[in-house]
């Protein structure tokens, strides 16, 4: 590997942008489509939570189905597509090579999205597995593995073919996410669907998979973007960067051990939940290190940093709440309630998704060669997202605390609990509507920007487009 420089100026286009425009835009477009689908499903689910009669006659859209569909569309539709696109872009930029195996990426994208769509149809038809984060029917999952491999090939090639020998934190996180997903996904499939383990081991294995998916795939995809965009935009070296590798390995080695998180007090031997509690605490050091590294985003210039700083705050806060709620004395009240859902939304939507939005806002002008089409839509998306997430987390958290307190009081019937949490759940549904609206603005903005780009026959060089 030579040490030839990758690019001369900060804003110069990279080879990956010209070669990878079509595959990456396809991935990003699919991601936004799935984001809208999952947002709509989340809205339906949120309405059903406080008004069970809503769509109750429809066997396809009963509450259980909607939860499974929404989760699948969000994780395997939105996060997978956008995360892979941005990971490939970052690896391409830092590797300095054009995107190789672009045709494979396109094929992989189409097959992956077909697989996810088939999975959603399967869940709606009743073949769902009822395993959180692994809801898709068994017949779909090998399709996804193949598609992921097809897309991942480009990432691996970008990394192995990189021009500079050294690796930056963004690359560590991106490669980790790309590499680890197929392993954990296939192991989970085999142990839960093809040759299922017996009894409570299913719950333990599923817990390990869910936590590994979160800590070893979703979080790294977001952090790859954040670690890249923050120094690029601020122009300064990340503070405390010497700790970054400690934070990285801490997340990776410890993340999977938190798998027993939801088995506290449950029918699994106590060492599993104790290890989960203990590792959730040690993981705090990872969150602290990420905050130290990325705090330059707060107050930084530009759209991307606004999203990323919100995402960073939510991610770190989510980590602290996770460690807090894993303590048995707190889990006593919050377990099995909406509070768990609030923590999940804070971490996955508020943390990971917002960081991915930020990276998307930074990446798209470079991919298309044009600025984002409308500043109004952009500001609208930011405002609606921030409001929506804050409202969602607070309302679900409030509902959860009430529900938890009343669950622990044997005198309260479930009808009472439903009535008491209703106002909070109505607020949560409102928050979902706000978030959906915000994402609609993003989708329109994206189509406007990317559509204009596709309409122009010759992609302009970035410096030309940015001449102001």
């Amino acid at each position: 590997m030579t040490s030839a420089p990758i690019s001369a100026g900060p804003d110069d286009p990279s080879a990956v942008e010209t070669s990878g425009r079509i595959p990456l835009l396809l991935l990003l477009g699919s991601a936004l489509a799935w984001l809208l689908v999952s947002g709509l499903l989340a809205l339906i689910g949120a309405i059903q939570a406080h008004t069970p009669e809503f769509l109750a006659r429809c066997s396809v859209l009963n509450y259980g189905h909607v939860q499974a569909l929404q989760e699948t569309a969000f994780v395997y539709g939105w996060i997978a597509n956008v995360g892979l696109a941005l990971a490939l872009w970052i690896l391409g930029r830092l590797g300095g090579q054009p995107l190789r195996a672009g045709a494979w990426v396109v094929t992989g994208t189409l097959v992956w999205n077909f697989g996810v769509a088939l999975g959603l149809v399967g869940i709606a038809a009743g073949d769902g597995t009822a395993l959180p984060l692994l809801q898709m029917p068994a017949y779909v999952q090998p399709i996804l593995l193949f598609a992921y491999a097809a897309i991942g090939v480009a990432g691996v090639l970008a990394w192995t073919g990189r021009r500079r020998q050294i690796m930056f934190a963004a690359q560590w996180y991106a490669v980790a996410a790309l590499f680890l997903f197929p392993w954990m996904f296939s192991v989970a499939q085999v142990m839960l669907l093809w040759v299922p383990v017996h009894g409570v081991l299913q719950a333990i294995t599923q817990g390990w998979f869910a936590q590994s998916l979160w800590t070893l795939w979703m979080a790294p995809l977001a952090l790859a973007g954040a670690y890249y965009v923050v120094p690029k935009v601020t122009g300064r070296v990340l503070p405390g960067y010497e700790l970054a590798s400690l934070g990285f390995w801490c997340l990776l080695f410890i993340g999977g051990w938190t798998g027993g998180r939801h088995l506290i007090g449950g029918p699994a031997p106590v060492w599993i939940s104790t290890i989960a509690i203990v590792t959730s605490t040690i993981l705090l050091s990872h969150y602290l290190i990420v905050f130290i590294n990325l705090r330059g985003a707060i107050g930084g210039p530009g759209t991307a940093l606004k999203f990323i700083s919100f995402g960073l705050a939510a991610y770190v806060l989510g980590g602290f709440v996770d460690a807090l709620t894993s303590m048995r004395v707190v889990a006593l009240t919050t377990q099995f309630t909406w509070f768990d859902e609030a923590q999940r939304q804070l971490a996955v939507y508020g943390g990971v998704s917002m960081m991915l939005f930020g990276t998307l806002y930074f990446a798209l002008p470079r991919l298309t060669g044009r600025s984002w089409a409308s500043p109004g839509l952009l500001r609208g998306h930011l405002a609606l997202s921030v409001t929506g997430i804050a409202l969602l987390v607070v309302s679900l958290g409030g509902a959860g605390l009430i529900q938890g307190r009343e669950l622990n009081d044997a005198a309260k019937s479930f009808a009472t609990i439903a009535a008491d949490t209703r106002p909070w759940l109505i607020a949560a549904a409102g928050a979902q509507a706000i978030l959906l609206l915000g994402n609609l603005l993003l989708a329109v903005n994206f189509l406007w920007t990317a559509g204009c780009c596709c309409c122009c026959c010759r992609p302009k060089a970035a410096t030309e487009a940015f001449a102001s």
């Binding site: 690019s7 930056f168 031997p269 106590v270 060492w271 590792t279 952009l378």
Partner: protein, 224 residues
């Protein structure tokens, strides 16, 4: 930057090239020869925080791990010393269940232990039941044939089947099951006699052998 440029929200300017990004950060990794004697505060703070987390984690794990035992579900459970306690089989419960199984004792001697007049002798208050266990055990192990005098009446109409693990037995009850049934019968209804152990049954079965025919009343009365 010399002149502040208006920030266009539609496009974020990058201030660092990719090469500079890689180079600048790489300098921070690894030992800096100039900094060997100069400890920065931040890694020290992180070290303390990390050590604190690990200390808490280790203490918590030590206290609440349940010794990684698969049968411990309560983290507050104190460790049991030695081998796990075997749950003892309650002979009276077992004996009662056997007694009341259709086809076994209840069919003839009835659930109230009164038997059927002129056909099956009663067990409640019977001198055979409350008398020497050597005779009682032989009756159940090998069966009884011929006339038998119980509580002032003679019973000659039916034959007591063979219950033990001896030749000719259709039931083949193990010694501890026989002991359980006898323990139950000896304390039920108006009976207030002591239990029968499986060892006693085994001894008798070993002493008498496998091939003894059903006992008669006269043979039994000669047994002490």
């Amino acid at each position: 930057m010399s002149a502040p440029e208006p920030i266009d929200p539609r496009r974020d300017r990058a201030a660092l090239s990719d090469d500079a990004l890689l180079d600048e950060h790489e300098k921070l990794i690894g030992v800096q020869p100039d900094d060997r004697a100069h400890y920065k505060m931040l890694p020290l703070v992180m070290l303390f925080v990390l050590s604190g987390c690990v200390l808490f984690a280790a203490t918590y794990l030590n206290r609440y791990s349940g010794h990684f035992d698969p049968s411990i579900y309560d983290e507050n459970q104190l460790p049991t010393k030695g081998a796990p306690v075997e749950v003892k089989v309650d002979p009276i419960a077992l004996g009662k269940r056997l007694f009341n199984t259709p086809g076994y004792c209840v069919t003839c001697h009835q659930a109230n232990g009164q038997g059927v007049p002129a056909t099956y002798p009663p067990l409640a208050g019977s001198e055979w039941v409350n008398g020497p266990t050597s005779r009682l055990i032989r009756i159940v192990l090998y069966g009884l044939q011929g006339s038998v005098h119980v509580e002032g009446r003679d019973f000659n109409a039916a034959v007591m089947p063979v219950f033990g693990q001896v030749s000719g037995s259709g039931f083949n009850l193990s010694d501890d099951k026989i002991a359980a049934v006898l323990t139950y019968v000896r304390q039920e209804w108006t009976n207030k006699s002591g239990p029968v152990t499986a060892e006693e049954v085994s001894q008798i079965r070993a002493a008498v052998g496998q091939d003894h025919k059903s006992w008669t009343q006269d043979q039994l009365l000669q047994v002490k």
